[in-house]
Amino acid sequence: MSETATQAPPATAAATDDVLLDVRDLKVHFDTEAGTFRAVDGVSFSVKRGKTLGIVGESGCGKSVTSSGIMRLVPMPPGRFAGGEVMFDGRDLLKLSEKEMRGMRGGRIGMIFQEPMTALNPVYRIGDQIIESLRVHSGLGRAAARRRAIELLDLVRLPSPEKRVDDFPHQLSGGQRQRVMIALALANDPELLIADEPTTALDVTIQAQILELMRDLSARTGAAIVLITHDLGVVAETCDDVVVMYAGRVVERAPVAALFAAPQHPYTIGLMAAVPRLDIQSDRLETIPGSVPPPYAKIDGCRFASRCPVATDQCRAELPPLRELAPGHSVACWRAPLEDVA
């Protein structure tokens, strides 16, 4: 594993100053009775200030653990950081004290979760939940914090915020609650917003509104976004750069246009083929044959090899490192570039 880490090229923009978040070879493992589960196993990517990075992959590929890992919200034990660095504005978050880390959470880094129905505490008014975060980080007085909470609710376009501020979560719809979550995440003007499947639990029409809102607010406040999703459509619409994850590892990393124009990893290609399209008549939905290897499996080669249509003996024997094929476009595949297969 460590060998591949050194082979992985530094995230493309790491050298420049405008990199806000630089995750280097992050490993989050879980020690369970069945063995060590390598949920995140050597993941590297970086996010520039004001830009949006999408992390894509199917359920269980480690994308949510990656995001909780950045926030150090992975329950430990059973989880543990088995290696890597999370450089945020030049400091390694993994080395901060718990107290310093608390200042980051909700302060310089905001987070939005998947389930707006359960992510807010049902027994407190939404205003009070925002006020709590404001007061912890900025030391605002109660009245000032309340005014700011109303401002924030207005910012996320919750209708009549001066009234809704006193509502309980159960009095709001799912979309409204997600707006409240965004207001909460943005409360202290974070430089980075981590959104873990923010629209997955919402109706399609509401999804578009929420994405639009996030894009708009990020443009206005200059916050960078890490958007975790399994929806390639969302990525295409929202992100500047994309990281594709499979079984705990990054398989492809590219600017969004490059990824959609010329996907290089067979898994990425399979994912794109699996998106139903209106312009092609088909009775069946495309799928990638096979399934994700079991989490405890010890695999020497490429983890996608068993499902890959172009896998060779080398793929099954040796783990492919991330290689840069074009500026900013890296792929972890021995067979890349894959002109023939795509």
Partner: protein, 312 residues
């Protein structure tokens, strides 16, 4: 919330009616003749007949019950067959010591039980957790009368720190306080176990919920996360439990009061039943039923205060 309370009060009317009916019928079944109690075992039959006639005991049971209901409704619960005081004054004298004992018992046992349960949940698997669980199993398993006897044996006789007979006056006086310690501690011990266990499992449950993760993601300290965002939500099932245990508390109070000669409703009830003092026994049953209703009402109000979704 006021509508809810009113609703509850209306619903408690049929409950009270049922309690009166059951209490009345139960005492009909109990061996013992009120006329004999009043006149003594050696009284001639014509005297007993006269007493029965005067008290309406020669009437059919349903008529007697109807008359009883009518009297209770007008506030007349009769007189004690033993002391000849009115039942109301007997009850009135016993209610304050009982309420005092219950409040003293809940005052220490519920916060301690919640605290112990929370610590056990947060430090799950630690020594502290195991100690709390062992103590609570002990508290649940030991019968209340045995706890009382142990308390008397060790803290009353072996180390004579606390008095264990009767009440020493209002609880805020020194004597009153010293007298209430042993009964309140003994009665509270049966409560701590269930409350600690329920709090522990409830906090463990809530700590897994998404909104706790949100609270952490806001940058709150672990202490704030647990006290504000886990414990408050976790208390909802604990309140339910306390409501369900109210009957346990009242039953325990009867035993505790009897053992410590605490002059409350429980001892009054036991004394009245043992001496076939029917009017007083019926009165105490009514008071205990009312207490049950009041406790459940308080639980409902607490519910609404803890969980805004209940108010609807």
């Amino acid at each position: 919330m006021i509508g809810q309370i009113a609703n509850r009060l209306i619903l408690s009317v049929p409950v009270l009616f049922g309690v009166l009916l059951l209490g009345f019928l139960l005492l009909q079944l109990v061996p013992g003749d009120p006329a004999v109690v009043i006149a003594g075992p050696a009284a001639p039959p014509e005297v007993l007949d006269a007493i029965r006639q005067e008290m309406g005991l020669d009437q059919p049971v349903m008529v007697q019950f109807w008359n009883y209901l009518a009297r209770v409704a007008s506030g007349d619960m009769g007189r004690s067959l033993i002391s000849n005081k009115t039942v109301l004054s007997e009850l009135g004298g016993a209610i304050i010591p009982t309420v005092e004992l219950m409040v003293a018992c809940l005052f220490w046992s519920i916060p301690l039980g919640i605290g112990m349960g929370t610590v056990a949940a947060v430090k799950r698997g630690s020594i502290a957790d195991r100690i709390v669980m062992a103590l609570s199993v002990g508290g649940v398993s030991l019968p209340i009368f045995f706890i009382c006897l142990l308390a008397i044996q060790f803290l009353g006789v072996y180390w004579p720190i606390f008095p264990f007979i009767g009440r020493g006056g209002p609880v805020w006086t020194y004597d009153g306080f010293m007298h209430i310690v042993l009964p309140a501690v003994s009665l509270g011990l049966i409560f701590i176990g269930p409350v600690a266990r329920m709090t522990r499992s409830s906090v463990l449950e809530v700590l897994k919920l998404d909104h706790v993760r949100t609270a952490r993601a806001k940058g709150l300290s672990e202490r704030a996360v647990i006290l504000r965002h886990a414990l408050r939500n976790a208390l909802i099932p604990v309140v339910t439990l306390v409501g369900l245990q109210a009957g346990y508390l009242l039953g325990g109070a009867i035993v505790t009061e009897t053992i410590f000669s605490w002059p409350g409703i429980g001892r009054l009830a036991v004394g009245a039943i043992l001496s076939s003092d029917f009017p007083v026994a019926q009165g105490t049953i009514l008071v205990l039923a009312l207490a049950f209703i009041v406790i459940n009402l308080i639980v409902d109000v607490l519910y609404a205060l803890l969980d805004p979704r209940v108010q609807g």
